[in-house]
């Protein structure tokens, strides 16, 4: 009998009854999560109402507030939108870069900066991505993609494009929305919308060997996909590397030995590539890549508090900004990996993402 046969014949656990209240426990967990979300939102509303100048998201956040009793009766629904909730950040010490948006880890909601007022407003959609100039936000509710001014989030202009999380081109002129159709294989439709004209150019990829959503290349014309490449000799089940896809659907150079999704330096000369969401060759390093040659210049190890690097963007041409737990931002030298500055955000709850941009108007900076 081979080991394969033995495994097939393995009876598994003979007596492992599921808990009698499993369904109740699951539904309670879902409700508790929603209740925490509602409590966090209420805390922010209260903070805004009393005009406390310090953001209160942490103090009133879901990990600090006693849980409300779970709703009884039928399962709860999402709270109805009642207009944007706002808050301010006073933690930032001043500087040329600002946080144009942050996403709260527990709720998944994104708060977007209006540089005219310096206040952040919660966006009532699943995804919100601020344009490079910080003036507009692309939103998605999972079915539609829309655009709004950061100072008027209630007025969304729906584009007619459906797909995943939208991505702004580095020059801020176009929006990429990728739809994946099922049928005879997977067909990726990379829909590039020119915001000024409304024109859409679509690039089709049939059964592409890629992972996740495509991104823009530094030239705002080509795309970058996370390509499945090869197995890691150490046993990691999958390795990805960014690969250029031209608008005509042909594949270009592959940035071997890097990872998944890139962020570009202000000039576009270098990119920081974090590992993708799947196991990769260097799962705890951010690769710095020469965008002209695709050469990997160096690797920045993960920070002290994040097992997996999260690059928020570039601070300037020579350093990147990394999101850490706590939460805090660290400005890291893109050549040596040395930490230049640490900016703590004690008034915020744990964040899953921040978006960066140049500081303008009344925006706080660091």
């Amino acid at each position: 009998m081979t080991i394969e046969d033995e495994l097939r014949a393995l009876p598994g656990p003979p007596a492992l009854p599921p808990p009698a209240d499993l369904a109740d426990a699951v539904l309670r967990g879902v409700r508790r999560r929603r209740a925490r979300t509602a409590v966090a939102a209420a805390a922010v509303l209260v903070a805004a109402a009393v005009a406390v100048p310090v953001a209160t998201l942490r103090g009133g956040g879901p990990d600090r507030v006693p849980a409300r009793p779970a709703p009884t009766g039928s399962a709860p629904t999402e709270p109805a939108p009642t207009g944007p909730r706002t808050t301010r950040l006073t933690d930032l010490p001043g500087g040329p870069v600002t946080i144009t948006a942050f996403t709260v880890d527990d709720t998944g909601r994104t708060w977007v900066l209006d540089p005219a007022t310096g206040a952040y407003a919660e966006v009532p959609y699943a995804a919100a991505v601020v344009s490079p100039d910080g003036r507009r936000v692309a939103v998605s509710d999972g079915r539609r993609t829309g655009l709004a001014d950061v100072g008027d989030l209630g007025r969304v202009r729906w584009t007619g494009l459906a797909g995943g999380r939208p991505a702004w081109s580095p020059d801020g002129r176009r929006l990429l929305v990728t739809a994946v159709d099922r049928g005879s294989g997977l067909v990726y439709r990379l829909q590039a919308l020119t915001v000024a004209t409304g024109a859409v150019r679509t690039t089709r990829l049939v059964n592409p060997p890629i992972v996740g959503d495509p991104a823009w290349a530094a030239d705002s014309a080509d795309f970058l996909v996370a390509r499945r490449v090869y197995d890691d000799p150490d046993g990691a089940p999958l390795v990805t590397a960014p690969q250029v896809v031209h608008p005509d659907g042909t594949f270009g150079a592959t940035w071997l030995g890097t990872g998944g999704r890139p962020t570009f330096s202000p000039s576009g000369a270098r990119a920081a590539v974090d590992p993708s969401d799947l196991p990769v060759l260097r799962p705890t390093e951010t690769s710095i890549v020469d965008t002209r040659t695709g050469d990997r210049l160096t690797g920045l190890p993960a920070g002290a508090t994040h097992a997996w690097p999260k690059t928020a963007g570039w601070y300037d041409e020579s350093s990147v900004v990394r999101l850490q737990d706590a939460p805090e931002l660290s400005v890291v030298d893109a050549t040596t990996g040395a930490i230049r500055r640490v900016v703590r955000l004690p008034s915020l709850p744990p964040l899953s993402a921040v978006q960066l941009g140049p500081r303008t108007g009344a925006a706080p900076g660091f």
């Binding site: 080991i3 097939r8 369904a23 539904l27 967990g29 046993g235 089940p237 999958l238 196991p279």
Partner: protein
């Protein structure tokens, strides 16, 4: 995402009818009854949140969630060395009790595999799924399934040498 009363009833019926089998799979993936319950509850919570939008059989959705959560948990733990228990000595003898002990030994050997290899082995052999299906479920390449399975089997053979053909186990 809201769950309507009718969807909640449907979800409860699904949990009542399918959770025993799903928990067995979770146990095979984790090797620990407490982790198995946690893993299943996590996967079911995701299913409950998206119940109205799940296309096709919900069991397939939950199973996929089990496998992927397990791989993600492995990734989250990857920087910390995993505690790997010692493989127990195999029981001697050819009677039923010895065979049962042998199976426990194989199960213990399975527990010593890294979680990603364990997931491949459980899907590929214990659930007897084709390589392509395993690859799709785990979101990895077929070649990766082969290489991971090969490494896992080599470890299992070393820890649990099989008896010669025809031998009474």
């Amino acid at each position: 995402v809201a769950v309507s009363p009718s969807e909640e009833r449907e979800f409860r019926e699904f949990v009542a009818g399918r959770s025993a089998g799903l928990l067995r799979t979770a146990y095979m993936l984790t090797g620990d009854p407490h982790l198995a319950r946690d893993l299943l509850q996590t996967a079911l919570e995701g299913a409950a949140r998206h119940w109205s939008r799940i296309e096709g059989p919900p069991e397939a959705y939950v199973r996929t969630a089990l496998y992927r959560h397990q791989v993600n948990w492995w990734r989250a733990r990857a920087r910390r060395p995993e505690t790997v228990g010692a493989v127990p000595e195999r029981a001697a003898g050819g009677d039923h009790a010895a065979a049962t002990a042998d199976r426990h030994a194989l199960f213990d050997a399975l527990r010593t595999l890294p979680p990603r290899q364990r997931a491949v082995v459980v899907l590929r052999y214990w659930e007897d799924r084709p390589e392509a299906e395993v690859a799709e479920l785990l979101g990895i390449a077929v070649g990766t399934v082969r290489s991971q399975a090969s490494k896992a089997l080599a470890k299992l053979r070393a820890a649990y040498p099989t008896a010669p053909e025809g031998a009474n186990r």
